[in-house]
Structure formats: structure tokens, C-alpha cells
């Protein structure tokens, strides 16, 4: 297997909120310590519910925002807050595709212009003629037709727009592609087309993907490794099959059991979690999951568990044993 191209260690991103007249200042720990590696040709999926910091993670990796703490190393080079300003080529290495293909394309630019824009800004030495040629080649690579070059975004369907967004992200030959919920705005029949496109591109260009999603069935199909987040903290990470088949953290187990499976015969025991997600502004002390966890003890309420283990790591004092069924009484109570 090839060497990792990106290493993240203890990435944190906190936001300071100014208090109003009646409230004190607060810190939102949107991302609180994530470590992982991205390898060419492989996909790391980040899953979790809203407010778990998965999109913040995507933004930090794309260098849209600097991490508050922790280090990001790309191709052996440590990223400083001013690295991007000093070396614009760095930004070209990591590109992002956003969730909403309706909002992420400029409605006043033709597709061709949209595709040529990154080259114009970052590769001023490329001639206009070559720029156009590269954009046209890219259009073909993502499965669009040559006549689409002159058209505007409103003339496209959601799936086609997402193809354009992928094409634009690839114009600068990035090594890493961050996919922030790339298919969740698309219909099922279109979703599979885009997922296939992403698989083909990965094989062809040896890209490393960071795939942010909340849809576990897509993730299971698409990724190699999995990082499960809850309220800014990674709670479990490891190879996909190990995490899916034998989740150790109770939250992962609950998340998996809550995900609807398209199989009407399978009557599974669904773990009903108590209560709702706490606000990221007000993360409970100790393990962030303890108020909703059926295994929580005094220790969980006071001490923050750390990620431990080898390939398959989890942050829990009372990990689930393989095959363990949650006690129905406590798990069923709402």
C-alpha cells in the first residue's frame, strides 16, 4: 500500500462566540481532536449527525480554515497558517466538492468558464488555448458532453451539476478530494451515477478521498476506512468492515441500528437512544455521549475517554463486546 499523503494529528477547531448583553462569551468546540491519515486510492469516510463537526473537519483539511490546535501534514510538509499564502500550489493539492450543487456553481458563468477559472488564477502560465482544451477534456472525463461547455448551471439537473462541481475540483490535479455530502441532495437513481463516477475517477487518478456523509449505507459501499464523530470528537475509527461488523462504541452501534435497511424481512432490534443531541456549545462533561448512553457510569460523566487501540480505535470505558446485545430494558426506554 502506498504512503499516506495527508496526516492529521489532534486537529481542533474552536470558535469563540461573543456573548450578548445577558450571556457570557462561549467557545464552540466544533472539532475537538481528530487524527487520521489519507492514502492515495483510498477513501476515509467521516460520519456523524448534525453538529458532530464533520463539515468543520472538511473545511480544516481543505485549508479553508486553520486548525486551532493540532497539525496537518501534506506530503510530509507541515501546514502553517501562512503556508497557503506563501505557496498557492499547496491549495491545489486539496480540493473540495460541496453538498449542494445548486448553490456551489456561479449562475452567471458558463460551465466552461467555471472550469477554466481555477487554471486562470492558479496557473497563469497556461495559455488560454490550453486552458480551454483542459477544461474540455475534463468535461468528457466526468461524463458530460462537449456542447455543455457553453451552457449555464440552470440548464442542468442536480446530477449533472454535481458532475460539474467534481470536474471543477479536479482541474488543478489535486491529490486529495474532500467530498462534503456529495450525493445527499440527489435522487437515488442519480446518486448511483455520481458514486460510480467518483469510484472511476479514484481508480484513474489515484486520488485520496475524504468522504463526509451521514448516510451509512452509502458509506458502507463507498469507503475503506471510517471515522465516527459525535459532538466534535471522534468516538471510533478503523477499517470499514471491522467498524460495521463489530462496533465497539455504543454510539456507533446505536447509529448503525438506527439506519434504515432496505430489507423488509430483517426485523432488527433498534436501539432507541434517549433524548436528543446536546448543543455543541454545551458539550456534557466526561464522555460527550454519556447522557444518551445506556452503559454510562460515574466515570463516563467525569473523565473524557481517549481513543485507544491499534487499527480499530474507540474512545469508550465500557466498549461493547462483539455480539453483545444492549440490555433491552434500558435501551428501549425513551
Amino acid at each position: 500500500m502506498s504512503q499516506p499523503i495527508l496526516k492529521a494529528e489532534g486537529l481542533k477547531r474552536h470558535y469563540e462566540l461573543k456573548g450578548g448583553m445577558f450571556s457570557s462569551d462561549a467557545t464552540v468546540r466544533a472539532l475537538d481532536g481528530a487524527s487520521f491519515e489519507l492514502t492515495p486510492g483510498r477513501t476515509l469516510a467521516v460520519v456523524g449527525e448534525s453538529g458532530c463537526g464533520k463539515s468543520t473537519l472538511a473545511r480544516v483539511v481543505t485549508m479553508i480554515e486553520p486548525p486551532t490546535e493540532g497539525t496537518l501534514t501534506i506530503e510530509g510538509r507541515k501546514i502553517e497558517p501562512d503556508s497557503v499564502a506563501k505557496d498557492p500550489d499547496l491549495r491545489a493539492k486539496v480540493q473540495i466538492v460541496f453538498q449542494d450543487p445548486y448553490g456551489s456553481l456561479n449562475p452567471r458563468q458558463t460551465i466552461g468558464k467555471t472550469l477554466m477559472e481555477p487554471l486562470k488564477i492558479n496557473r497563469p502560465d497556461v495559455s488560454a488555448k490550453e486552458r480551454e482544451q483542459r477544461a474540455r477534456d475534463m468535461l468528457q472525463m466526468v461524463g458530460l458532453r462537449p456542447e455543455h461547455f457553453e451552457r449555464y448551471p440552470h440548464m442542468f439537473s442536480g446530477g449533472q451539476r454535481q458532475r460539474v462541481a467534481v470536474a471543477r475540483a479536479l482541474m488543478l490535479d489535486p491529490k486529495i478530494l474532500v467530498l462534503d455530502e456529495p450525493v445527499s441532495a440527489l435522487d437515488l437513481s442519480i446518486q448511483s451515477q455520481i458514486l460510480n463516477l467518483l469510484v472511476e475517477l479514484q481508480d484513474r487518478l489515484d486520488l485520496a478521498y475524504l468522504f463526509v456523509s451521514h448516510d451509512l449505507s452509502v458509506v458502507r459501499h463507498f469507503c475503506d476506512d471510517l471515522l465516527v464523530m459525535y459532538l466534535g470528537k471522534p468516538v471510533e475509527q478503523g477499517p470499514k468492515d471491522e467498524v460495521f461488523d463489530a462496533p465497539r462504541h455504543p454510539y456507533t452501534k446505536a447509529l448503525l441500528s438506527a439506519t434504515p435497511q432496505a430489507d423488509p424481512r430483517r426485523k432488527r432490534q433498534r436501539i432507541k437512544l434517549q433524548g436528543e443531541l446536546p448543543s455543541p456549545m454545551n458539550v456534557p462533561p466526561g464522555c460527550p455521549f454519556n447522557p444518551r448512553c445506556w452503559k454510562a457510569t460515574e466515570e463516563c460523566r467525569t473523565v473524557v475517554p481517549q481513543l485507544e487501540g491499534g487499527d480499530h480505535r474507540f474512545a469508550c470505558f465500557h466498549p461493547l463486546e462483539p455480539g453483545e446485545v444492549p440490555e433491552p430494558k434500558t435501551a428501549e426506554a425513551v
Binding site: 449527525e49 446530477g159 437513481s189 442519480i190 451521514h214 451509512l216 438506527a258 434504515p260 432496505a262 436528543e276
Partner: protein, 329 residues
Amino acid sequence: MALLEIRNLSVDFKTAGGKFRAVDNVDVAVDKGDLMAIVGESGSGKSVSMLAVMGLLPWTATVTADVMRFDGQDLLKMPARKRRQIIGRDISMIFQEPMSSLNPCFTVGFQIKEALKSHLGLDRKQRHARAIELLEQVGIPAPEKRLSAFPHQLSGGMSQRMMIAMALACKPKLLIADEPTTALDVTIQAQILELLTDLQKNTGMALILITHDMGVVAETVDRVAVQYAGRRVEEQNVVDLFDDPHHPYTAALLAALPERAHNRLLPTIKGVVPGQFDKIDGCVFAPRCQFADARCRAVPPKPAGKELGDALCHYPLIKGQPQNKEMSA
């Protein structure tokens, strides 16, 4: 007798580009205590057909139907005033975006009691008691306190519970849930779906779930109607539908589910859903169908019969194999 019976429902919208048929000859039959789903992608007319039942479509829409009957009463011939008494009381609906379906200017208590007042004529005390009872029923802790909360003080899951409480206020016979969990997280989605099915069981009301999520369908309902481009292409009970879909669209849709995939590449449905200006003579799915032939492109198909899930197809599938094909070829 069916609780809700609709035959040949069509909805046309007046648009700048001419008439657009959003729902085309759809039949719906729901019995008392039924638990069914309408699935389809965007533009399949699944929401519009139910909004037509509710009478909630804008003036640009023209609704036509041969029969539209609810609980023995003809909804088509009924005066508007009478219809309004049924809508919201015997048939109620909850929507996808709980946050935007609640009025931000009023407390949720006020909004729940409003239905009780206009439909049931309860006095103030009774309304208050009933509202608390409803919030308890949908699993909201400290209901008395929550009644005076404003929508912005509630989370998404909480707002959806409020919407459900409001819909249940008058003990409806039929509840239509239009993508009730699409805007919610999976762990909250599980809670809400469980709540809806429990209520359906305990109160004996019929529930129509409109969704695009095959996973939700498989785990929640008994019967499924599949819509595509404004037409109902198939209707079966849920186990049979997932085992042996009879319409090529359903089959292709199920095959495209990532969890059913065997390879790294998923089977896809080529092309896109037809739009307003795509003129299609034959079967609406023919341009994307892998089994389509000249007959499919020229002649609109008829429902294939009960045992084949009324599949709207010339060559309905049995175990993935198109039928009758040799004879006509």
C-alpha cells in the same frame, strides 16, 4: 369500503411554458388502519397527489378525478366549507420541514389548541387538558412547560413531535406524513418513525408515508406504491416488492441501492427523470428502461393486473425476467 378512494386523479399546473401534468391518472385506495407508503424520486408527483386530496394546491393547479371519496363522502362535489371541516380533522398532514411548518409568531400551545377550537369546539380548559395529553402522547417531556414554548426554542425532532401532536389533535382517521424525517438525523428519525407507527397501531388510524428513502419504506410500512414521473408504476406489499419488483423502474431503483451492491460500481439507471418539455408518447420510463422496445416507446402501457402489482408496463418483470415479450416481438 375503502377509507380513501381515488380513481384517475390528475393534476395539471398552469406554467409559463404551458400546461404541466404533475400527476397522471393515479389511483389510491386506503383502508381503515392501513399503513402504506408512496415512494418516488423528486418530480414523481407523490406530494402533489396527496396535497390534491388535502385541497392545499395553489390556484394554478387543476385537479381532476373520476372518484375522490373519503369515508363515504364525495370530496369533489362537496362545498368548500364542508370540505374544510374534514381536512384537518379527519384527514391531517405533516410536512417535511418541521421548523418552517410552525408559525414562529405563536407558541406551540396556541397552535395546537387552534385546531381543537375550530374543529371540536372544546372550551378553554378542555383544550388545555387535551393539548397536554397530546404532547404526552407524542413523547414530549414536561408538556405543561412546552406548551408556552415558541418554535425557535425547539429542536428539529421536538418540532416534528409538535407537528404530529397538532395533526393528531382531532383524532384523524387518516394521517398523511410527507417526508416526515428527511430533515432529521438518523437517531431522531428512528424515534419519529417509531412514534408514528405506534400511534397508527394504537389509534387505528390509517397512515400514508410519502418518502424517497427505500430503507425507511422497508422498515416501516406494509404496502408500497411506487410513483414515477406523475404515474403510479407499481403497488405491492412491502416484502413482495423488495423480493420481486414487477416494474423495471422499481427493479432498477432497488438495484441502485448501495447496500444491495455486489461490486464497487453500482448498477445505474441511465438518463434523468423526464421534465416538463420532454414529450413522451409511450411509457414514461421507456427512455431509461433496459427492456424497452418500439412498442414501449409508442403505446402507453396499461396496469398489468393485481397479481403483478398493477405494474404499468407492457412486459412486467417476474424474477427479473420480462414477460409476454416473445409473443409480441
